[in-house]
Symmetry: C2
């Protein structure tokens, strides 16, 4: 079993109630990598027998630090319409609720389509680039093969403040794994805190809420397969303890698969 | 009482349970304007005696059409930490849950600050511009004084597709009202559906999920007062029945007060 599948594995104990366990492979400095938590919350709906359609929007609120060990996830469809369905999910441990999430699922059909944002231009092929070092990094970073063309946060922690926090990178699972909704949800949280890029030094931070909009359907995921994705991100405003950042996930051949936004606590 | 205060008025019937009523002043084509629904959901937390701090993130999922008439709102703090608090809110009518929302509240303190996005440059003063017509528009549009410098959606519904859906505008309540968190939440949903701007014709649409990040604290809101705000928005991807759009809310003097993102259903 791929370590990612192991990390997001849930065992249903009754309708909409699951048992899971954190994975040391995706450990962060404190608790698990937030992206895997997003994937776990989404997975609770993906596995639910009442689920219709595919994910369109996912919001995950990191309510408290997740302790290493077991957790319980509940998923409840609060409203099912003809082609859309609204879910609320909670993960709990002995300390109480640790993660709170909502999701919109929908059946999707062909319509007029257009992409208004632009994929980064002139990215060299990932095979021609060096993989970023994962030396001294948390375990989860080692689960992703990342190759940066811009904004590799750890390349120079020289404390020299920069005017922007933009980054562009290739990424894929290591070992490779075919893209699906759960891994796309997880990868959407791969962007290092923008404040590290702005200030070029470590700062105490913690993501508190992330929202991802899925543009990919099953066919787009299958077309991507195990190939490298492109991820881009930028900060918006850093103010009084919180900043927000936005990212885009592009397929290897320039299709926008997801857009993602989050607000992050910081102290400095 | 200002019509906005009337529209978001909630009467607590017990701890965390409120009664509200839709307002004809903020009616949309079907049910109430989504921005007022956002403000109502936020208000349920703002009025809650257990609330700490101020809103940092708000996600509102429009689960079903809200019928004109009374509704019940519940607000529950799922987790209270030292300086952050996570909430889940639901609005219900006879048909079941119509709105599902989550919020992050926090106490905020001084830190290093920076704004990475840029306010629109060269906006003429609102007093020098004409107010957009509200003729034949839903009631809620009349509650906002909007003055566009770019992308007034209804100015030319000629069916000639455009390459982008960017808009820039001034806006404020009509009659004027001092900005607060509830009205900022409401204004964050003021941006007309980007597909109208792209295709320049009416299309059946419905916002399904909106997330707003608040950068303003009470002092920034007080400094803004009744003045015009600047709002900018753009689309990202339109695909298989859903598109996403992002917006920024700027103070009259160039401070970023909120960033906002939503996904919208469309049929065409």
């Amino acid at each position: 079993m791929h370590p990612f599948d192991q990390a997001i594995h849930l065992t249903a104990t009754s309708l909409g109630i699951y048992q899971g366990h954190t994975s040391s492979a995706y450990a962060n400095l404190v608790g698990p990598y937030g992206g895997v938590t997003c994937a776990v919350m989404l997975n609770a709906v993906l596995q639910h027998p009442d689920r219709i359609g595919m994910p369109v929007a996912l919001t995950v609120n990191f309510a408290a630090a997740v302790a290493d060990g077991p957790f319980t996830v509940t998923a409840r469809a609060v409203r099912t319409n003809r082609s859309t369905q609204h879910w609320v999910m909670e993960a709990s441990q002995a300390s109480g609720v640790v993660t709170l999430a909502t999701a919109l699922f929908a059946t999707r059909r062909e319509t007029w389509s257009a992409t208004e944002t632009h994929a980064p231009q002139g990215m060299p092929l990932p095979e021609s680039m060096a993989r970023r070092s994962t030396r001294k990094q948390p375990a989860w970073v080692q689960q992703y093969d990342m190759r940066f063309t811009q904004g590799d946060v750890f390349s120079a922690f020289d404390g020299q403040e920069r005017a922007d926090s933009k980054s562009s990178q290739w990424l894929r699972d290591d070992p490779p794994r075919s893209l699906d909704f759960a891994s796309l949800a997880s990868m959407s949280d791969c962007f290092f805190p923008r404040i590290f890029l702005r200030r070029r030094r470590l700062t105490p931070i913690g993501s508190v809420s992330i929202t991802t909009y899925f543009h990919a359907d099953e066919a787009a995921l299958a077309a991507q397969g195990e190939r490298y994705l492109i991820g881009t991100a930028r900060g918006q405003k850093f103010h009084k303890g919180f900043f927000d950042q936005s990212g885009e996930m592009w397929s290897h051949d320039g299709h926008l698969l997801a857009t993602t936004h989050q607000t992050v606590y910081y102290k400095d």
